[in-house]
Symmetry: C2
Subunit: 376 residues, 2 copies
């Protein structure tokens, strides 16, 4: 069973990726808390709980208290955190309680933040239920909620006691969500793991069919990339920025479409294509490398199309949180498996790369996926 240990200056914990973790949850939590009694509180969505409550409850002698957060990015707000905190207090939760984030990225981010601030901090565990959450958002300790002014503008670096990624859950994901989540795995390959990239090229059919062995391999390799980066730069002062590969234009696309038309992974896919065009125009990568990257992103599509001009997208990048200080930082590929941070990208350059990405989109148009937005 793949277990990845993540050690940062502020925390050390394991990310376990395997089948059947839910069925043994209670015993796993007891091990984490080293036998010290605790009261478990599960934060989840009605949909996830409807699908998996029997498996979760089976392992507990006494049923944990369950708190619900409705699905969707719209609920990733301080008002939700306050409502959950109030429910915890009313139910008598104290510093001997343990929160369990059981859901996708929104549930994980909100619950991790709730754990950071309830009674000035109580422990929590991540049980990610989407591919995106398993390969990306549940790992690394970034938690938080959105403001009207922007996404993830309030939050906390707060690591869980453990991440338990049960790969059985992936079998129930809608195909579009699986494909979108895999874009973050492609990103992991591009920035730091050429072998993962190649594996995804060679095993695309099996992975996209949801083959358990192939998916577990991809999830594990993706988590390893993220854990390795976070271990080297917990607070995002340098290296961790490379995880934002494809995200600058990706976030602009999400903002331009009001976070409703594309899944997060799809926006990242388009953003990665734009970044690849930038890398090619600067001759940081070869034409052949650029072709392979773009081909793999499209192979795990179709990515939903959207309507926005290049000018609009470029304008939106300057309001991105990472770019507030005025300079435009970009993560650009230097090969398959390596990237560099470039701080002098000009507006015309960025405009040209975005235009190329939009031209490619017009050739590969897919119908928009109408579904709630998933967060990264």
């Amino acid at each position: 069973m793949p277990v990845i240990s993540l050690k940062t200056p502020s925390a050390a914990y394991d990310i376990t990726i395997a089948s059947g973790l839910l069925r043994t949850l209670s015993a796993r939590l007891n091990k984490l808390t080293k036998g010290k009694p605790f009261r478990p509180f599960i934060v989840t969505s009605p949909e996830i709980w409807g699908l998996w409550h029997k498996q979760v409850l089976a392992s507990f002698k006494e049923a944990p208290t369950v708190l619900f957060l409705p699905s969707g990015e719209a609920h990733k707000r301080l008002a939700s955190v306050e409502s959950l905190a109030q429910q915890l207090a009313t139910a008598g939760a104290d510093r001997d309680s343990l929160l369990i984030a059981f859901g996708g990225g929104v549930i994980g981010d909100v619950t991790g933040f709730l754990a950071a601030i309830y009674m000035r901090g109580i422990p929590y565990v991540q049980i990610p239920t989407t591919l995106l959450a398993q390969v990306d958002s549940s790992v690394g300790g970034k938690t938080g909620v959105n403001l009207v002014a922007g996404k993830n503008l309030v939050g906390s670096f707060n690591h869980p006691l453990a991440v338990l990624a049960d790969t059985d859950i992936l079998a129930t994901l809608p195909p579009a969500q699986l494909r979108a989540g895999l874009q973050e795995s492609i990103k992991a390959g591009i920035i730091r793991n050429a072998k993962l990239f190649k594996y995804m090229e060679q095993n695309a059919d099996a992975i996209l069919k949801g083959d358990a062995k192939a998916l577990t391999h991809v999830v594990t390799a993706s988590v390893r990339v993220k854990a390795d980066v976070v271990a080297n730069d917990e607070r995002e002062s340098g290296l961790r920025m490379i995880l934002n590969y494809g995200h600058t234009i990706g976030h602009a696309i999400e903002a331009a479409t009001s976070y409703k038309q594309l899944l997060h992974g799809e926006a990242v896919g388009w953003g990665s294509i734009a970044a690849t065009h930038l890398g090619l125009s600067r001759k940081l990568i070869t034409q052949a490398q650029s072709d392979r990257i773009i081909a793999l992103i499209l192979r795990y599509g179709p990515l939903s199309s959207f309507k926005a001009t290049a000018a609009k997208l470029v304008a939106l990048t300057s309001s991105d949180k990472k770019n507030r200080s005025g300079t435009l930082s970009f993560i650009l590929p230097t090969s398959i498996g390596t990237v560099k941070i470039v701080r002098d990208v000009t507006q015309p350059e960025l405009l040209a790369a975005t235009e190329s990405m939009l031209a490619l989109m017009r050739q590969h148009t897919a119908a928009p996926v109408v579904t709630r937005k998933r967060k990264r």
Copy 2:
């Protein structure tokens, strides 16, 4: 100029207690940030800003951005934090910004928490403007806001870069606020500094008149007690609990009067008297010590009276945050200058001590001070 250095596992900073700090604020901030450019954002109340803006602005070449939080405990809520965060984002605040909490306990707690979570953490400085905030709440890194379910139920341990306590500000405090704040200094004496206690016995007239030298002595000694305790137990796993001396019954009194009738220090004064009665009934202290403690608390009165039965107050103690696990922990005096944590206080014992405190109140009735509640 008294400078107290506080070092905890997570932070190290100075608490400076002196006259004229506001007038040199800009230079002091530059020193703290080691010359690195930063954008200052001041969070304050309209009243405080009205009194002191000229002094503050005088030292800045470029005026800092000022955000207002209305006065009063009612605004110590997540909604205020969200509104301030939104204003920060709109004004372009980023990780190179510096928050300045300029006000009493509520401003300090809200701003410290805002600094903890805005963009997952930006630096801040405390400039406490009440005696209570100078001697107690600005020191130690506890920040947070209230829920409907209880006070300070969400928050963060988040230390400032520095605490600048300008003693000039104390001269403008209403006498009732000065007296109430001094109850926390008496508490500091009881729990850990017999010399401070004696100084307050011997110099009561000068201190209560607002004599600058005497007040500076009291503030400095009180901060030293708090800093020493916090340095030894940052996260309140043991020793730090002694700072709650007088607070269990104190919080019950505040809850019974809807946080509107008494200043926090007054409630703590009554709570200290009840705790002293408990200590006496357990023979932890002598009659003479008990008499001295009660006499000093009353000397710094009059403490506003209130209407609540002993039974009601005792019932409210069990919903106190510190007592959620079911046992009643109390900090009881074992001499003037030492206390111990007692975990087996029975309801009848507590009821008797509370009755004694209420009997004493009936003998020393003062008219209720009608004013907004100050927080500890």
